[in-house]
Symmetry: C2
Subunit: 415 residues, 2 copies
Amino acid sequence: MIGPTHFDHLPNETDVVTEHQPASQNGLRRGNLALVLRALRAHGPLSRAQLAARCGLAKATVSSLVTDLGLRGLVHETGAAVPGQGRPGQQVALRPDGAHGLGLDVHADHVGVAVIDLTGAVVHQARVALDVPAAGPARAMDALAELARQVGQEPVGVTVSVPGLVDTDAGAVTIAPRLRWQGVAVADELAARTGFALDLIAVGNDANLGAQAESEAMPNVHDLAYVNGDFGVGGALVADGRLIRGSLGYAGEIGHMPMDPFGATCSCGRRGCWESQVGLAALLHACADPTDPVHDPSLDLASRMRLIRERAEQGDRRTLDALHATGSSLAIGVSIVVNLVNPAVVVLGGYFAALPEWLIEPVRDQVVATTLAPGGGGVRIVGSRLDFAEAAALAGLRRVFADPAIVPMREEAPA
Amino acid sequence: MIGPTHFDHLPNETDVVTEHQPASQNGLRRGNLALVLRALRAHGPLSRAQLAARCGLAKATVSSLVTDLGLRGLVHETGAAVPGQGRPGQQVALRPDGAHGLGLDVHADHVGVAVIDLTGAVVHQARVALDVPAAGPARAMDALAELARQVGQEPVGVTVSVPGLVDTDAGAVTIAPRLRWQGVAVADELAARTGFALDLIAVGNDANLGAQAESEAMPNVHDLAYVNGDFGVGGALVADGRLIRGSLGYAGEIGHMPMDPFGATCSCGRRGCWESQVGLAALLHACADPTDPVHDPSLDLASRMRLIRERAEQGDRRTLDALHATGSSLAIGVSIVVNLVNPAVVVLGGYFAALPEWLIEPVRDQVVATTLAPGGGGVRIVGSRLDFAEAAALAGLRRVFADPAIVPMREEAPA
């Protein structure tokens, strides 16, 4: 998706970065810079007076903070007329080119890149087909680095999205079964190949990054569940604006909720995990005999979805029954999550999002019917709009909203 | 439980209260007072130098903060010898009588009270049998107020625990089916009957209060799931030290996770909710015919548990089979939670805690076996040690750890 901005109206401008640290004068100043930058991200251009009111700061303080952010090239003045107020007011706005986030995505069958500017717009995107498990980590890292080098912008943060368990402190993949990666020092390898400073590079689990990005992209959504459907089923939960990581970082193993002690064998070796009911393998198995072209291992997700959609639209009974069964199992798992954490939104990504008429629309009613809270506790169930590279790019950009002072002041204010 | 302290070593001393607010000088000072008080709660008595190191503050700042806290009667100096260091050091410690939290508990069959001092010790506890649904809200509030009036200490906070959906802002119960309460202004009613200032009084959901108290009482536990077993099955989740409330406050409806579309009818009218498998009604139904004394509606939980335990210990086959089935269903639901949020601890309260040999010990192995993360993601499964009045009292006390300045300074430092 190129073009539209991902965060027109974001809620979290009042989070200050001093949390979990003793307050200090310097931290206070940097926290307030971030407060102003996030207010502009959330509400769009604002006058100094509006900024002061939104941030709960004195006008003189806001003026000084805006000057500082201007010298860093992060904001500029705009003369936009204020609708309904008649006279044009001088407003402060984010500079689109003030900072860029770079996202890289490693998947079983491709590597990808996206660049997002300070206003949330995607300004660059590319993808290269690659059999990552067969290529091995070194060649996959070469391909990733090549994608990163083709990017024109200097990023404030680089985030790599990986479908697996990540040691975020070390910037390394602990284990990613679908890539056949174990103990890969992704941040080090990328820094060595690209020259990016190591402290710019972060590595994250794909579902975690997806959940955070989806939640940031939605106005006033602080509680969100994200489920990605592929051969593996991954997920992540955001509660009160924060990703739930769990005590050892294992949270979000939604695909392995035990749903049926007597169910089919799962890829993990256990019986009746949710993935064995709603993973892509279960749908394909129910849709067609093993010799059917839909099982062709060389097909990418989009082509496979086209095949299934065609059959469903032609009224093929077996395909429709398979989609119906998958939708019902999907609804039960989603309803469990909804009863537990009362999200405002459940985002269904991957193949679920490609077949919304069968895997999103009908799921809504079933979830409401099996949730104790009236009306499903207000939950909305939607398809994902972001791919993993975009979600990673938004994560890279997040560094500047956490601490704008990472962008150095220039000698003179930019034009 | 009278005696032992509930928070010998608490993790959260570095949370500052400025979060979600613009930082200010006054907020900074109050936040740092709280930082020091929480460090003493977490680590026990500390020297000024140790406090400075733990809190990341200058020694002069710490001295001034300690003087302030002393004038409020919240801390005092102790001359305790430092083990292993030889010479006795002047240490700062919490004054037990510096502040008290008052907890009140409304249950279907009783009302209760507990008072907890600043060091976490229970200093008063009482309970009165009352058929609350039959008595109606007014008489139950009378009984609660009577319990509160018998307390000698002046509380810094009063919290009422209720098994239902609570509007915490209004201090009111929206709906509590098991009490047959709807729209009861608990805080107003209690203030009118006791003379407690309205802003001292909070009202909370029993499972939410239980989860927060259990997590605060455990060293270094930031991620916890709490499940209370009774005729209703309630729960709550704490992630990274914060209660998960959900977008509209409906989180924690763990009893209504849909487990079996063809299962037994639940109290909520749906089929196959977890409560219909692991609620007390399901266990009693499986244990004994309807005419059996174990079903006597006048029995309280403790007496009923005594009956079941006696039979299980005598090897009664039907009782053991019922406990085994309940334990298996309990393990599946707990495992779902463990896969989703990777808690460090799952606390099982209510009747589960009364029958640990059958409903806690065996659950552990089953949960580890059905969790993707190795070793169940490090989860410990334990019985609850706190009753609802104690959990509420800890919540009342929390106000002083969030903002010690709510306790006024005295003219002179207390002896």
